[in-house]
């Protein structure tokens, strides 16, 4: 089979699953699908920064939280339809992203990783302690999102909107990959000095990547408010960050299909381990380490080249 046909087969399969979920799945399956689609936007957004621009940025849950709280609070206070509140949440997240990006572009590698991680933890502390706004450790309840024609009261009603938003964000990512900006980020990942020498503004490209990534997290935060009615700061903590990072690294850093595979794999893992209770934590760690040991370039890096014929891969990858 040629590669184009293979892609078509996969696309049809994905659409079939997306259609089958609300038709045949229980309400819990629909909820899971909503979660996975939200994680897809989160992971793809973080991958722009981590996998494509090569920046160790671990502040994603902070922007996610900002998206959730902004969208939810605007909704609570004004009742505006979500086509307005979700972009608002994304905009606020992106704005904070810009503010963080300005100092962050001065840092590299480990230092950037620790600085952004620290920022995420400070944000988490603020979510937990700014009681008048976020409800603190009691969490925040928000009213059902308004579609403009009515309200979304359950997962099934939210599902089509969640699908459309996720598809839209993935489509944008696909275009971003092929854009000039995408190539500039790729160049920075390979070598900042070489990118600089060929006339790329390294600082600006990094700042833009930061902002875009934050906006994705903001959108994911908005998606969360579509099918949930309550947020607790624990959802926005270190464990979620590790989950998103694992999705990216286990799926395949810097590859769109890989990241999406990682989202499905790790998103469904807790379901598969449901009966194991106390062993879950241990097993999660073991699986994480095992994947990294045996497929350090991710599931996609491992299986992708086997499925798709060699001719369309970059020559550099042909040599083992």
């Amino acid at each position: 089979m040629t590669n184009n046909r293979l892609v078509l087969v996969f696309a049809v399969a994905i659409v079939a699953v997306l259609v089958a979920v609300p038709l045949f799945g229980s309400i819990y399956v629909v909820f899971l699908a909503n979660m996975l689609l939200m994680y897809a936007v989160l992971a793809v957004g973080l991958d722009i920064l981590l996998g494509r621009a090569g920046q160790f940025a671990f502040a994603h849950t902070a922007f996610f939280g900002i998206g959730v709280y902004t969208t939810a609070l605007i909704n609570n206070h004004t009742g505006l339809p979500f086509v307005l509140t979700i972009p608002a949440g994304a905009a606020v997240a992106a704005l904070v992203g810009v503010i963080i990006a300005l100092p962050a572009t001065r840092l590299r590698h480990l230092y950037l990783g620790l600085a952004t991680f620290a920022f995420a933890e400070v944000a988490h502390w603020v979510f937990n302690n700014w009681e008048s706004v976020t409800g603190g450790a009691n969490g925040l309840r928000f009213q059902p999102q308004n579609t403009g024609f009515g309200t979304i009261t359950n997962d099934l009603q939210a599902y089509p909107f969640v699908v459309v938003i996720a598809a839209f964000m993935i489509w944008i990512t696909r275009n971003l990959e092929r854009s000039q900006l995408g190539r500039r980020m790729e160049a920075i990942k390979e070598s900042e000095a070489a990118a600089h020498a060929s006339g790329i503004s390294v600082t600006r490209t990094k700042a833009v990547a930061f902002t875009i990534s934050a906006a994705y997290a903001g959108v994911a935060g908005g998606m969360y408010t579509l099918f949930q009615s309550y947020v607790h700061p624990d959802v926005l903590g270190f464990d979620t960050l590790v989950l998103i990072l694992s999705m990216i690294v286990i799926g395949g850093l810097g590859t769109l299909p890989g990241v999406l595979i990682g989202v499905v794999l790790l998103g469904l893992m807790p379901e598969a381990m449901r009966g194991l209770k106390v062993m879950q934590e241990l097993l999660y760690g073991v699986i994480l380490i095992a994947f990294l040991m045996f497929m350090p370039r991710g599931v996609w890096g491992f299986f992708g080249p086997l499925i798709f014929s060699r001719s369309e891969r970059k020559p550099a990858e042909d040599k083992p």
Binding site: L50, G54, L110, V278, G285, P296
Partner: protein, 300 residues
């Protein structure tokens, strides 16, 4: 009143700070020789503390026997993790790819494994502390109160650091380790077994964490999640620029003191956010650490 507050904070800060410095040292050793940030550093501390609890309470052993046993166990844990997991990930690296993220996440994976191992054990179901090391009567210096145990903790931590310094400065093995960290290729050329050195450093870091764990366990509440204190060590390491060892030690003490004074003057709620604020502040204004002379350029 205020001066008493400050002095009490200083004294308490020096004690906890000495432990933070020890943990931060274990991070820096690992970072200098393998360039990996060890997110599982806190879980090494945790597992050593639980092992000590088990040996002391269930096994009825004394500290003199329990401490070396725990250190040996975590030495093994660190060395094996490096040899089995990290070496393997690094070995699969291809040119133009960076597996550092994968290695760091592997250490995060290790945190889940270690927590998962400890959680089902009978001692982990409720909050515990280690039995006191010494019959502690408090000592007064002026108006400042210090327990004998605190003095013991401080002394053991400082002694460990001195021992480490002597080891790295004056023993052949210590020098080989330093050479490996400075320039692995040159070290290999003069016949140092670089791979074994890397495993050894991870082991050493594990053993240091064990000492830190046993020192801190009588002072904090033990839970399987106590490894979160690693963030204090991160902050201490950042203060030292992650590579400057005296700077890291000073960072540990500084952090202990700052934390204590924040707790006494602002609020106990603000303690948990202090290390993160310190990390951000240092990285923004002096990314090379408080004591690094200039920004370090990396040789290829």
């Amino acid at each position: 009143m205020w001066t008493l507050f400050i002095f009490q904070g200083l004294a308490g800060g020096l004690v906890t700070g000495s432990i933070y410095a020890l943990i931060a040292l274990s991070l820096v050793l690992v970072y200098k020789s393998t360039h990996v940030i060890n997110f599982a550093g806190g879980e090494f501390v945790m597992i050593a503390a639980y092992l000590a609890l088990f040996l002391l309470v269930a096994g009825g052993l004394t500290y003199w026997i329990a401490v070396p046993l725990c250190a040996a166990a975590t030495f093994l844990l660190g060395a094996v993790f490096e040899r089995v997991v990290l070496t393997r990930i690094q070995g699969r690296q291809r040119p133009g790819q960076n597996v550092l993220v994968a290695m760091v996440i592997a250490t995060v994976g290790l945190t889940y494994v270690l927590k998962g191992i400890i959680r089902p054990f009978p001692y982990a179901d409720e909050v515990r502390t280690l039995p006191p090391m010494l019959e502690s009567g408090p000592i007064f210096i002026g108006n400042v109160v210090i327990t004998r145990q605190d003095i013991a903790i401080f002394s053991i931590a400082v002694l460990s650091m001195v021992a480490l310094f002597v080891f790295f400065q004056f023993t052949p093995l210590g020098r080989a380790l330093r050479a490996t960290a400075d320039n692995p290729r040159a070290a290999a050329l003069v016949g140092i077994p670089v791979r074994r050195m890397r495993s050894f450093v991870w082991g050493l870091a594990g053993a240091l964490s064990a000492i830190a764990g046993i020192l801190i366990a009588p002072k904090v509440l033990m839970t399987p999640d106590m490894g979160g204190l690693i963030i204090l060590a991160f902050a201490a390491a950042i203060i030292g620029g992650f590579t400057n060892i005296p700077g890291v030690i000073v960072g540990g003490f500084l952090l202990g003191i700052v934390e204590n004074i924040v707790g006494l003057t602002i609020s106990t709620n603000a303690i948990s956010v202090t290390p993160f604020v310190v990390i951000i502040a240092v990285l923004l204004f002096r990314p090379q650490g408080l004591f690094g002379g200039r920004a370090e350029t990396k040789k290829v």
